[in-house]
Symmetry: D3
Subunit: 142 residues, 6 copies
């Protein structure tokens, strides 16, 4: 049974940022980090071209024909996410990952928690984050 949100349309906007990171849980030993994360734990970092797809769902405004102007949405994501994440080292430069391992799962939840309060409560938000074209995550899961 499909849960259709009657008269609701989802709008997607794709953005990207390039960042360095390493997978590392500071509360574990070095050996345990190596065992869990392999080459992703190498000490000098590696990096990715992250692709972020922001999905905003709501009713169409009859005046504009928009659920949300994708330019408005793009500006919001650029101001609050891309400007902070792009060309940065996630482990070193972002306070959110001082204690939190920057896996794709954790990154997408951090981004969600930044963006969610910036949108009207009448709009639903879901994010997809590509770490590579073959590894990606979605939050919240449907």
């Amino acid at each position: 049974m499909l849960n259709i949100m009657a008269n609701r349309v989802a709008v997607f906007r794709r953005e990207h940022f390039n960042a360095a990171h390493r997978l590392h849980n500071p509360s574990l030993s070095s050996e345990e980090n190596t065992r869990l994360f392999g080459k992703c734990n190498l000490p000098n970092y590696h990096g990715h071209n992250y692709e972020l797809i922001v999905k905003v769902t709501g009713e169409i405004d009859p005046k504009t024909g928009y659920v949300i102007d994708t330019k408005t949405l793009s500006d919001l994501v650029n101001e609050h996410i891309i400007s902070k994440f792009d060309h940065r080292n996630l482990n070193l430069d972002l306070p959110e990952f001082k204690e939190l391992n920057p896996t794709a799962e954790n990154i997408v939840m951090v981004i969600f928690n930044i963006l969610r309060p910036l949108l009207s409560e009448q709009l639903s938000l879901q994010l997809r984050l590509y770490e590579t074209p073959r590894n990606f995550v979605e939050y919240p899961a449907i």
Copy 2:
């Protein structure tokens, strides 16, 4: 909690059409249209390579192994959508947009309303429409 449709499989078929349009609400002033839609409101139109993904969900027919033959689905979409939208000016050539602003949100709903009655009631329909690789919409939203 996942709403699985037991024994139901979704089949997707991707089609495309190239069209001109401009964003314009004829009930608003010229200044208001410029303010709302910026360069998308420029008077001589611009255009897109629209990509349409049609998702049809249902049970597998044990005789064919198909939910729906993608050739049948492609023929249906070509006859009722592509032949009318491709190489057209959405504002000028399609009666559906004489009063309705051809945003991606409105286009996807117009296409849905054409296709929905053409499919068996036992099949669910959802559409995704790409205006560009970075801006796209989905209806109905899940």
Copy 3:
């Protein structure tokens, strides 16, 4: 109304295999097979670069920051699916399709039935299978 799985994240891993097949229902006459499947029923087989996207949904393990390690997931899919399907003739080489027509719908269900018991019950599984970039299926349908 969106069915959010609170605190659950979906992890996706993309794999591929190249296989030959033909669409053929052995319980039907040759004429009926030709009528139903056209050139897809030609006797000497054709083939595809199948792309398989495996979606696993669950809660983040606070120790690793993973729902599931994509390397673990990739190894599982390679051991149980890719090693059996890649560079094979689905009709001739795979016992699952001795009686079952290898449509995309049936292939995705066969793969699901192999993978589902290999994952913890606390993880949800959904598969998307591309037969071509324009024809693809998803199971279970949401």
Copy 4:
């Protein structure tokens, strides 16, 4: 025999613009235009998401490690091409196409003639222009 340009590296930058056009040779009759261009000649225009790949070839500057800074190249293309072509009607808005049929071949030559004088003579320039993912052109041809 390969014509290698010793120590020369090619740098590519991808940009895009969305425009409306119709294929029409104003010096021919309406019937002849219909015969030659079919639905591409329909009077109210259609449109495309054009993708432009700019290839600049030269020696690496030992100070920067660049042949050309892709940011500089992107700014140049945006100032002189994208700002003029994006969200425009090529036939009506661009003086270059008042008499010239805006086929992909003619568009790529017009863009080349704008960009070529803006680059140092020690740099080679080649352009690829995608009208759709399946139809594209390159100038000058190698």
Copy 5:
């Protein structure tokens, strides 16, 4: 030193076909075939979604603004290549590969030899053939 073909533009058209094949040199022993081609030599065939990009280079016709109408080019490729290769088994169904191993290299040369005589001598022809997104060939090499 760049060999520019003055006033010449390259036009590309992308087509595709789905086919089965196996790599096998009938003049070699079974052991030697296994050693050389591994799983690509498995007896019951596998298959691919082949993508073919046809590049035709020439001068722009001032009447049409075309080097060649991509519709004409597409029709030519469909009539002479796609209709013969699509949904076929290259080893069994195509006389060209009765003695010739259907590697991507040999397939692209076979296609070139079919298409070359069908084009005017004033047009240059080059082909790119994708066997998978990661393995592809080009002929003639530049």
Copy 6:
């Protein structure tokens, strides 16, 4: 005039690696590095999913139908490039970039100088390296 290499076919293999880097010329002042490289010079590195396309050109071996076995080519690139570059920090981990700024131009030349001696002199080598889908380089330039 096209420089065809008679009977020569180009074979391409696509590989990828994920690495961290920053653009920095150690012989220049910090201010000059900031002025030249902007956010690409930020001290804690950023990263990319690099895509490397290796093009090898030669005559077809009549025994195998190959110019070069793409598996052999892939193994060579993985052993000599991917194993050294993947999940590494180019500035810190690779001796080649201790003094050399890891721009895409310099990286592609470093990779070329590693691979060129490993291939037969009868084979030509050209590389394309994508830093992002919109910024890429080719060496040697044709």
